[in-house]
Amino acid sequence: MGLSNKSKEILAGPLSKNNPVIIQMLGICSALAVTSKLEPSIVMAVSVTAVVAFANVIISLLRNTIPNRIRIIVQLVVVAALVTIVSEVLKAFAFDVNKQLSVFVGLIITNCILMGRLEAFALGNGPWESFLDGLGNGLGYGIILVIIGFFRELFGSGTLLGFQVIPEVFYQWGYVNNGLMILPPMALIVVAVIIWVHRARNKDLQEN
């Protein structure tokens, strides 16, 4: 690959050490709300990655022409336009998932990852780095989403992507799906466990 070290750093940092969800505390709202099944989690992860990468590129191209005072409104308009496109695409090609995601597709606009990355990175860097940064952060967000979705669907409904994973025999032996996993509060606790594991392995991330 023709990527320089710096580009690799930009792309890989957000996957673990600088993860947007569990380190920077960004984009948590949607990470929790759509993850009761694996499929919407994946769709959401892809949508956010696409929006954040392209919004980063556009803002980075415009960065020298936007007056500082109105930059938030300009950013919101760019993001809102991209999200409208994503939402129309989802309505056309994945109507069922779009229904499950309901208002959360629209809420990508207010996903803090977007504003956070636009403010912190795209306003000060060139389009190519910004694209990589957006991609990296989108993927970092996506990984967390997929992990949460995986565990919640597996333990909550015994399925993955709608296919039965836990064998019928288990149910006859008395295994019961944990209904609590489907409910909203458990998402928070799953995230807490991910943070726990992640910080136990990376001691330098622990807070005092």
């Binding site: 949607s30 809102a80 409208t84 998402a187 807490a192």
Partner: protein, 205 residues
Amino acid sequence: MEELLSTFMRAVFVDNMLFAYYLGMCSFLAVSKNVKTALGLGVAVTFILVCTLPINYMLENYVLKEGALSWLGSGYAEVNLSFLSLLIFIAVIASFVQLVEMVIERYAPALYTSLGIFLPLIAVNCAILGGSLFMQQKAFANAGVATVYGLGSGLGWLLAIVGMAAIREKLTYSNVPKPLKGLGITFIITGLMGIGFMCFSGLKI
């Protein structure tokens, strides 16, 4: 009257923005370190919800919805602008946030400094756009109900963030496992509070 009351109670307790839909989580986690700041942010969010919901309701019903423009004449009856709703809602919200920011900076500079970056970020607080989007989805009967819904969701959010801040102030003195300190334990507490709030879910008023 009954409808107003039940919308209000549902918005505060049953469909609590934070515990039922996780909206406004980012600022919730970041600003809930002490009660005073939390209260300030909660009031600002409630105020913006109350102001923007009726405006967005009017826009939705008289401009954006399919057939909403029919008051202009029969030629406009088939215009459907609903694909613009995200853009318009966020524009209304962003301008209101700018306004509140200026007012707070002028009259409560101490609060202004302690809220820091989270004041302009109210514009991207999901609870506020979420309020408008749920309003669109629920199709309320009139602007009054929409306003009450805004007030209810704002107060529900305020309740949640103030409660959380109070717990976190006490938490400073407890012995939490190192990797869980800070963010981790906050998540667990939010989860437990959410389970607590679920006891309202069967409530009918």
